[in-house]
């Protein structure tokens, strides 16, 4: 008799698992729709997911830091991004108006998790034909320099 119970519970377990997955998928598509409605403001506030949780940008642009950032960008990013026009991925021009500094750095430093969990990154992935943002092994300092360079592209 014990065996019967075991088999039964295995069956029940499998069935439950399946249901849960489906409902989860429904949920996530709901949140995406909700997000689309509130675009603009919410996106600018999102900090994304990754090592950078809080970053206050000073008023003025640090020109020498931006120059370093341009070097890093030219070396590691230009195979997919042109400064002012869409290439494989979107152009960084104007990105600091659209996204928070934290989000930009997290997208550079932690693209795998961003593509998996961050709603904006997921939408960008769809908008760009499924091209992934590659992790180019930048240090935090280099990513900060690149962000400063992006500020000069406004």
């Amino acid at each position: 008799m014990k065996k019967v119970i075991l088999i039964l519970s295995v069956l029940a377990f499998v069935a439950c698992g399946g249901d849960k997955k489906e409902s989860k998928e429904k949920e996530s598509s709901k949140t995406e729709k909700a997000e689309k409605k509130t675009e603009g403001g919410r996106k600018k506030n999102s900090k994304g997911i990754g090592p950078v949780t809080e970053l206050k940008l000073p008023e003025t642009i640090d020109e020498s830091m931006a120059a370093e950032g341009k070097k890093v960008f030219d070396a590691k990013c230009t195979a997919c991004h042109k400064p002012d026009k869409k290439y494989i991925g979107p152009a960084p021009k104007g990105v600091t108006k659209r996204r928070s500094p934290e989000w930009i750095m997290n997208m550079i430093l932690n693209p795998e998790e961003m593509l998996e969990k961050d709603p904006i990154a997921k939408q960008l992935y769809r908008d760009n034909n499924g091209a992934v943002m590659a992790n180019q092994d930048l240090t935090k300092e280099e990513a900060r320099q690149v962000l400063e360079y992006f500020r000069t592209l406004e």
Partner: protein
């Protein structure tokens, strides 16, 4: 519902009955009885979790080195070493072709036998692993940061590099003893002149302690025996290397009879510290010898062949104290030194007993000049003076011994197909377990070093037979994993291997620091294109150099025109990725070699000689992203002498 349950119950009972019937059946594969009941949980590594040990098993006649995880027995990688490998482009791309260069030109294959990890203070240090090439005598060094073959040195004056590349305590040297004796220097003489005319060279290859760079330091010119295996001393015997010999009869035909006449052959004990003194005193002869040393650089991502033409040779007759012979019963195969360095185990494969020599007694006999006589001017010690003990009739056909660091030794017996555990000092047999079938070498992680990690033992078998589902007349050789943490050995797992695993090495995974990428900024390849802006095509007469980049998911350039029949097109592809495990492949239609497989930050070159005009697709072969299938391009090939303009592009489409 009730009915369904009843059916399920019946079904599961029948399955249970069937299973229990099967295990009682004599027709079932042997050895299922002595598998312990918790074997599965002891070898189970949860999905996503790592193995505790790396195991490096030689690929034997595949010429490669395989990497497994223990205790799972999962194959992690095959490292191309002495044989070309189209999967990775090894020996096909321009960068690695020089790795397989020898004194007689490009050799695409070898027979690899004995991996040996580098050591510091007698302990494995996880820096490099060495392995011998038997057929065209060579030693390779593999970097355990990149898991790539990084150097190969050819051994001159050698005829089958078998007793190799066993290391000394601080990797001062790896050794290369010749299996076959040959005329030195080589000459065209009658084979019947073997006796006296043939010689055996024992080579000491120095290893730079920082870079790992190998060099042929010196050779000891020995009598024309066969030199089978070796191990260097450690602790008190540090400074000595021991080589087994067979065919001290110096027979040159029907060796299975001819080389089995003498009751005893020798273990040759070489005092390499003494050799260093003789070299320093200039007591060597420098003789001509053609050999090469090929080295691969992680900066240029290319190998270079260096040609060498001299070697320093020491003659034992002129160098007293350099070599002694330790008589050992009948054709000893392995010679294994225990972790303390005191015991030297001669595995006399045609002998009924295992003979163990004492290093202390060897030194004592040498000091008191207690010699039995000499052979070719080399002193022969008396066996009774140097004997530490005998393991009486432990099995049939002993081959190799390893140690667990707790005072026990484990010896394989080829003919009786078993591993026998015995105690150092008392020489008593503690346990024996069958192997399936005909075991050759065995391996305990660190089991030939001063600090064994005595948890597992891997037995490598020569015959597989009924162990796995049949795959035609040939089956992969099998390895078997035993738990040796307790008094009795417990068989845990069978797993198939590549080629023929001769020897193996094991090391705690925590000791290895594996690299994730090659840094793009450190790439010094002469044809690197570090950004798409550097992508270009340059014609130099009939040679066309394509400086190409790859990133998920496009090549730059991906359209090339102006190539002509008769051109030598070099595709130099740089992988711009800087992320772990994102290689890109490169293949072009009708290329008559192989693909490229380019690691992140690396540059590799494929030579392509198009033979007919037309449009030739090229594509990425390694599934790199959701858009991998889109990672493609075209080359236009025009007839020889045509005026098609050379041009290239990527992404030149109208903007919207």
């Amino acid at each position: 519902m009730k009915q369904l349950l009843a059916k399920l119950l019946v079904l599961s009972t029948t399955v249970a009955l069937l299973v229990s019937c099967g295990s009682k059946d004599n027709v079932a594969p042997r050895g299922t009885d002595n598998v312990v009941s918790d074997a599965a949980s002891k070898t189970y590594v949860k999905p996503g979790e790592y193995d505790e040990f790396y195991a490096f098993l030689s690929g034997g006649f595949s010429g490669q080195l395989s990497v497994y995880g223990l205790p799972s027995g999962r194959l992690l990688k095959v490292i191309p070493t002495f044989s070309v490998d189209p999967e990775k482009g090894y020996g096909f791309n321009e960068e690695t072709k020089p790795m397989l260069e020898t004194s007689v030109g490009f050799v695409p294959w070898d027979d690899a036998h004995h991996p040996e990890l580098s050591q510091t203070n007698g302990e494995t240090d996880g820096r490099w692993i060495f392995i011998n090439g038997n057929n065209t005598p060579r030693i390779a060094r593999i970097d355990l940061g990149t898991f790539e073959t990084t150097e190969i040195i050819e051994i001159p004056n050698s005829g089958g590099n078998h007793s190799s590349p066993f290391t000394t305590e601080n990797t001062e040297y790896v050794v290369a003893g010749t299996r076959f004796s040959v005329p030195i220097p080589q000459e065209d003489i009658a084979i019947s002149e073997y006796k006296g005319k043939f010689k055996g060279a024992l080579s000491f290859i120095s290893v730079d302690k920082d870079s790992g760079d190998m060099g042929l330091a010196f050779q000891v010119l020995m009598p024309g025996f066969d030199y089978d295996l070796a191990h260097s001393g450690k602790g008190k015997s540090h400074g000595w290397t021991f080589f087994t010999t067979y065919n001290t009869e110096e027979s040159n035909t029907l060796m299975e009879v001819g080389a089995s006449q003498n009751d005893k052959d020798f273990i040759a004990a070489i005092n390499w510290k003494k050799a260093e003194e003789y070299i320093a005193q200039g007591k060597f002869k420098e003789v001509p010898a053609n050999y090469v040393n090929n080295e691969y650089s992680d900066e240029t991502h290319s190998a270079v062949t260096k040609r060498l033409n001299k070697v320093k040779v020491l003659d034992p007759v002129e160098c007293p104290g350099l070599v002694y012979f330790l008589p050992t019963p009948k054709s000893p195969h392995g010679v294994d030194v225990d972790p303390s360095g005191e015991y030297i185990v001669g595995n006399g494969k045609l002998s009924a007993d295992l003979t163990v020599h004492s290093f202390t007694k060897v030194l004592d006999a040498i000091e008191n000049k207690k010699f039995e006589g000499e052979a070719y001017g080399i002193p022969v010690l008396k066996m009774e003076d140097i004997l530490a003990g005998i393991v009486k009739e432990p099995g049939l056909g002993p081959l190799h011994t390893e140690f667990d660091g707790r005072g026990n030794a484990y010896t394989t017996f080829f003919i009786s197909s078993e591993v026998v555990k015995w105690k150092l000092g008392t020489w008593e047999v503690i346990d024996r377990q069958p192997t399936y079938y005909s075991v050759g070498h065995l391996m305990i992680p660190g089991g030939d070093s001063a600090k064994p990690d005595g948890k597992y033992l891997v037995a490598m078998n020569k015959i597989t037979k009924d162990r796995y589902l049949p795959t035609g007349p040939e089956m992969n050789h099998s390895a078997q994993l035993y738990d040796i943490s307790g008094e009795k050995m417990k068989l845990l797992l069978d797993f198939p291997t590549i080629g023929e695993p001769h020897y193996a090495q094991g090391i705690a995974a925590s000791k290895i620091k594996s690299k994730k990428i090659y840094k793009l900024e450190e790439n010094k390849h002469p044809y690197v294109a570090k950004t798409e802006a550097d992508a270009k095509v340059v014609r130099e007469g009939k040679d066309v150099h394509v400086y190409m980049t790859s990133i998920r998911s496009h090549f730059a350039p991906d359209n090339i025109e102006g190539i002509k029949v008769g051109d030598n097109v070099y595709f130099h592809v740089t992988n711009l990725e800087q992320d772990w495990d994102v290689p890109h492949g490169f293949a072009v239609m009708k290329a008559r070699n192989a693909e490229l497989l380019i690691m992140p930050g690396q540059t590799e070159t494929l030579l392509w000689r198009p033979q007919e005009p037309g449009i030739y697709p090229m594509y990425c072969t390694d599934f790199c992203s959701a858009l991998h299938q889109e990672m493609q391009g075209y080359v236009r090939v025009s007839p020889a002498g045509s005026n098609t303009e050379l041009k290239w592009s990527v992404g030149e489409v109208d903007e919207e």
